[in-house]
């Protein structure tokens, strides 16, 4: 063994001994953040196992099912989907390496068919920003082996020309909408109609999945709640009489009464002018 070889080994050994320390101090300086990751299985007909960095994350995962949100340390993941029971070394139905999962993000990884019908994995970022009070968020994701579609609510197109693997979203008043999915630019219904309850403070994520040629197009739904905003306040009174009864100086009311009437007058005429 040459000197050079020994030096190299020693260096490697030192490196190995030093690295964990460095890593530990780095971790101390910046704690590892978790990401919130859900997984949706939207490939028709195949029960699968999902591996992350070689370890089983999900087993016997059935089409049309969704995991609860998982907290995963931020970092990069090698994801592999195999037939159920195939084992970590089994043939990959879908494989995606170096999938970056940033800390703090809320992501849904969807195993689905591409427009051409090939199984793929697509990570979608879930919009978990706060909603205004009384509002609901709808997100629609095209994850089906199908051409472009329009999404209609009550028969009117709301989202048009959505293609795989895109998503669209909108913040709407909370309530129930009768939604269906039609082939883009037509009234040929591909999925639905279905009554979708757009719950206040919730991001209702609707996936169109399956295959048009396989005649198994359907909807999957994921809900992320807790995004509600609060009303800005409570008005509570418009007359002022109670304040006078409670002993608040009457002169204040008398003094400003004329001004208030003036304001009301102007307001009323402004409303009239607009209507």
């Amino acid at each position: 063994m040459s000197v050079r070889r020994i030096t190299a080994l020693t260096a490697t050994g030192l490196l190995a001994a030093t690295l964990p320390v460095a890593a530990a101090s780095t971790a101390q300086a910046k704690p590892t953040a978790n990401a919130t990751v859900s997984v949706l299985h939207a490939v028709p007909g195949a029960t699968v196992d999902v591996y992350a960095n070689g370890k089983a994350l999900l087993t016997d995962f059935k089409p049309g099912t969704l995991t609860d949100p998982l907290k995963l340390p931020e970092g990069e993941y090698d994801l592999k989907v195999t037939a159920a029971g195939a084992g970590a070394g089994g043939a990959a139905v879908i494989q995606a390496n170096d999938v970056a999962v940033p800390g703090g993000a809320n992501v849904t990884v969807v195993a689905h068919l591409s427009a051409a019908g090939k199984p793929v994995l697509t990570p979608f970022v879930n919009d978990t920003s706060k909603l205004a009070a009384g509002k609901a968020r709808i997100t629609v994701r095209h994850t089906a082996a199908a051409p472009a579609v329009d999404v209609r609510a009550g028969g009117d197109p709301v989202f048009e020309g959505l293609t795989n693997p895109k998503q669209v979203k909108a913040d709407l008043p909370a309530g129930t909408v009768k939604a269906d999915v039609v082939l883009a630019g037509t009234s040929t219904v591909a999925i639905g109609p279905a009554d979708v309850d757009l719950k206040e403070g919730t991001n209702t994520i609707v996936y169109a999945w399956g295959s048009a040629s396989g005649k198994n197009l359907k909807l999957a739904v994921q809900s992320i709640s807790g995004l509600h905003g609060d009303p800005s306040g409570i008005p509570g009174g418009t007359g002022g009489q109670a304040a006078q009864e409670q002993g608040v100086p009457v002169w204040l009311g008398l003094l400003c009464g004329a001004v208030a009437l003036g304001v009301i007058g102007v307001g009323t005429s402004a409303v009239r002018a607009r209507s």
Binding site: A52, N53, K55, L57, L58, T65, L66, D68, L72, P73, G75, E76, Q95, D98, A100, V101, P102, G103, G104, S114, A115, V120, T122, P123, V125, A132, A133, A153, T163, K166, V168, K169, A170, L172, D197, K199, L219, A220, V221, Q222, G226, D230, P231, S232, G233, I234, P235, G236, G237, T238, G239, G240, Q241, A242, Q244, V248, L252, C256, V259, A260
Partner: protein
Amino acid sequence: MTAPFTSLHAARSLVVVAMILLLGGCGDSGASSSSSTAPEGGRVESVGPATGGSPTPGRPAPPPEPSAPVRTRAAELPKATSGPAPDRVTISSIGLELPVRAVGVAADGQMDLPVDPAVVGWYRFGPVPADQEGAVVLGGHLDSREYGVGPLVRLRKLRVGALIEVRTTDGGTARYQVEGVRDVDKQKLAVGELFARTGARRLHLVTCGGPYDPNGGGYRDNLVVTAAAR
């Protein structure tokens, strides 16, 4: 309040980068142009994954250590489930018995109240009495130009320990015990606490209070009654 938004935005940018990296790896390449049009009155963004690029080496994540089996469930349309709504509020100690009507949010972003001060509004997006946590919020006008002084003027006489009964549409009654009757400057009203959907089961009954500014300002304060479920 700006910090979380900033970090969220940063996280989103990172994920877009992640998508670019991933899509290079998993091979489903599609055009990344926008495919959406805005619905009337709605905000729409197309944020589909971008494509291109190649995976770059990064810090590998430790393998996940699922402590418990990952739970899965059918990704079905959720059923609209909500307990019975309040339909009447009774406070015997001050001789108050008023109908309750479900209300939402007014155009100005405030809680929408029934115009008649003899009718109380229940904030329908918040908890119902049957919910296991959070505040049931009732609110009503103290007075109105049209109707004059309303019965909620008596709330000021309410004492700590008094009983508030809320009847629900199923005929059940939820009971609350008054813990506080306070005037709060409207500018300082902690709406997050007032409309809380978590924490102890409680009732917040709100009207107006303080001096009245007829010159557009209205009442300065909210009179806030807090009561604990019992």
